[in-house]
Amino acid sequence: MTKPVLPLKEVVIRFAGDSGDGMQLTGDRFTMDTASLGNDLSTLPNYPAEIRAPQGTLPGVSSFQLHFADHLIQTPGDAPDVLVAMNPAAMKANIKDLPRGATIIVDADEFTTRNLTKVGYATNPLEDGSLESYDVHAVPLTTLTVAALSGLPLSRKDAERSKNMFALGLLSWLYHRPTEATENFLKAKFSKKPDILEANLIAYRTGWNFGETTEGFAVSYEIAPAKMAPGLYRNITGNIALAHGLIAASQLSGLKLFLGSYPITPASDILHELSKHKKFGVITFQAEDEIAAVGSALGASYGGALGITSTSGPGVALKAEMIGLAVMLELPLIVIDVQRGGPSTGLPTKTEQADLLQAMFGRNGESPVAVIAPSTPSDCFTIALEAVRISTTYRVPVFILSDGYIANGSEPWKIPDIADLPDLHVEFAKTQEGFLPYLRDPQTLARPWAIPGTKGIEHRIGGVEKADKTGEISYDPANHDLMVRARAAKVAGIQVPNLEVDDPSDDAEVLLLGWGSTYGPIASAVNALRENGNKVAQAHLKYINPFPKNLGEVLRKYPKVIVPEMNLGQLAMLLRAEFLKDVIGYNVVRGLPFTTSEIVEATLEVLNA
């Protein structure tokens, strides 16, 4: 008997389990199989800061949400249509996010009195009727997995560990995902452990077959490929896109890539990824602390390399003085801040946009730097190229403000043709008579990049105020005023593209203006508002210092400008200060990205006011 197949336009699935249950891996695999099928997609991993919180407890729950569709989408979805809960803790931690009617698939074996008590369930929700408004599938995942593996020489504990693959197989059947890529992935991952490989393959296939045969699932679903621009695609997270963008920039500029970094969540993956690619001549230096990380990057930059440091907010705080030195030395430097919840240690694994003012002003003295921000995971690639262009052209520190959401979230990325990438070639100062280390280029106001090893241009630089042109120590009042203004003018004059405004009717009353990772939820909300007949315009800032030249004009055009930010109004403060425009802040700081619906509601409130 063949089961019926229903077409769907989009689905949001959340895999949730104990942090040791392999939910991130399960989610990753389902994502890859979904990507290869041609659906558009967006992901949101959400995991605890603790590596292994006590098993079966609420703090130990790790989840991975995937939104996939037959059309273009911008967010991982507000609420899951399907929750896969590997234990009662995963159920309890996630049930509040589920709309009525959602599908819940649980490992029934884990719903023991002990596990239920551990998370405060007085009765078993699978039996007490509290889940009546949901479509619940209580599957004994553990028992079925262990039974399927009974022929293998594995301990029960090892056999149980394959239950995530059983769940993956079941979901893959339910949504008609291809299986070949995951099988190949498992073969590569466990090539040296044939028993474990066998166990995972059997569990995966058994999960698939279980769906096919059990009466519990009456139908399966198909989601047609989305219409996307032709080309070669891969799925990519923000951190990987940044790392690959930096390698590309190193190749395009001919500059050696030097990353000085100190491990910190959620930025460490940039260090991990770059350290894999030594064959591109990449040097990764895991320093003794955040200060040494940026110091070594600045030292490498002084020597003519592409000096980069990657960190999160607390690391930026420590690096501040060295970034100030880079401002004074007028050398290229790239500072990647993958923002997380703050202040202090804050929420290390959660997202936030509250480092904007720190990046802009978190140093002593008048200390201008360029600040740019990627808007989606794949946009991190382009932003890396832009950071290198600005930093090497203007010899100035550039902040890249990414955040935990796009750093770990992923989306399909159309791989660019190398020939289409920009030329980032840079000239160093050459041997010459009467060399002046602080003589500015009339166009860019940049001083020469004069690297050691160049005969005849030996000179001394430092953090003490420099005399104009000669770069010698100067305490002269007029010179200081001149140099402060010159450094400010140089950053203000950085060439950045104009801000594009998406306003189909060209007469919207309200503009939604965001920056950084809020692009997806804002774009998604704008679509929803327009579908309901509302006129709204959208614009998204990637360049924050300097702002695009036409920003003032854009702000003046719209009577009402809403600025959604995952902070208490930091961009709004800059806009008010610079343009005297009373923008309307919409601010939420929960450590999670905006949902589409909350931005829709906030906009409707303004529209209907």
Binding site: A229, L232, H277, A292, G299, G303, M322, I415, V464
Partner: protein, 333 residues
């Protein structure tokens, strides 16, 4: 050694030197300027990087590349430079406050990694540029502006600290002894890896005379225990003997000459050099000078660059197009 026909004058910049009259830094600068022609490295390939403090003005006065950076962080900048530019000769100029207080962490990590840096630690046992507070090497009980009733801190022994970090080259010398300082610079330059040279340096304004006993002609011969590889360690009046795990200062003549410790700077066990470093602390009656330790250890930058060369030799140079299409890809028609 290539004859570049350079002289002291070639290494002297046009900047007016602005240390206090009588400062020990003058003598160190002059010795360095005289030594550099002998180094045989073109001017443009020499870089001096300093932190903050009186000594950190040093780079301005040398006609090479130089950077006067921020407090305590010179080893970090110098590490990034030396690792990415193995063709350069990089000196770090620092003081006791700069390298042992605010920058202590960077100093020990540069030493443990064995980055190719020649670190000159000007130890005057005082904060000079901030006008006279006690430093991490000031003797306990020192009366200064910030310790009017005497300092309570146990001082660092910079040599012990460096050896504890397993530095591969550690030496001590005195600002006014040009010959000894030059010899020490020569040995440090010949060493592959980090070299730490502690230089006792007089601050005539805030800690004048701190090192008189090892500088005055009538006391220094007796106070300085000369360490020369392969020779007995002794001053004009005293020598060193083994005493259990430590070393002990004895009067010459009180023991047989054959019992005196024969210096082995290449001893791979840091315990020996550490014992030497403990012979003197704040008091300077018997101070070992010379090279405590000079052992071969892989230099960090070379290893970093070798690892890259090995990967390229094995896998070929990276190809950007294949990097960008890593992993599972799919085509949309």
């Amino acid at each position: 050694m290539p004859d570049l026909a350079l002289t002291k004058k070639d290494f002297t910049s046009d900047q007016e030197v602005r240390w206090c009259p009588g400062c020990g830094d003058y003598s160190i600068l002059s010795t360095m300027q005289s030594y550099l022609p002998e180094l045989g490295v073109p001017r443009e390939n020499i870089v001096f990087i300093s932190g903050i403090g009186c000594s950190s003005r040093f780079p301005y006065y040398l006609n090479t590349f130089g950077m006067h950076s921020i407090h305590g962080r010179a080893p970090t900048i110098a590490s990034g430079l030396a690792i990415s530019r193995p063709d350069l000769t990089v000196f770090v100029i620092t003081g006791d406050g700069d390298s042992l207080s605010i920058g202590g962490n960077h100093l020990i990590h540069a030493l443990r990694r064995n980055v190719n840096l020649k670190i000159l630690l000007f130890n005057n046992r005082i904060y000079g540029l901030t006008k006279g507070q006690y430093s991490p090497t000031s003797e306990k009980g020192k009366i200064t502006k910030s310790t009017p009733m005497g300092s309570l801190d146990q001082p660092f022994n910079p040599i012990s600290l460096a050896i504890g970090a397993e530095a591969s080259f550690v030496a001590r010398t005195v600002d006014s002894d040009r010959k000894h300082l030059t010899q020490t610079l020569r040995a440090a330059s010949a060493h592959k890896g980090s070299a730490l040279i502690e230089i006792y340096q007089n601050c005539p304004i805030f800690n004048d005379g701190a090192f008189d006993i090892v500088k005055d002609s009538d006391t220094k011969e007796a106070a300085l225990l000369q360490m020369v590889h392969g020779q007995a360690i002794k001053s004009s009046t005293h020598g060193l003997i083994h005493a259990g795990a430590s070393l002990k200062v004895v009067e010459l003549g009180s023991v047989d000459e054959s019992q005196l410790v024969i210096h082995d700077a290449h001893n791979p066990d840091p315990a020996y050099a550490f014992a030497l470093s403990r012979v003197s602390a704040s008091e300077l009656d018997h101070v070992p000078v010379g090279i405590f330790r000079d052992v071969e250890r892989d230099e960090y930058g070379s290893m970093v660059n070798q690892q890259i060369a090995d990967v390229i030799a094995k896998q070929g140079a990276g190809d950007l197009a294949s990097l960008l299409s890593t992993g599972d890809t799919w085509v949309v028609d």
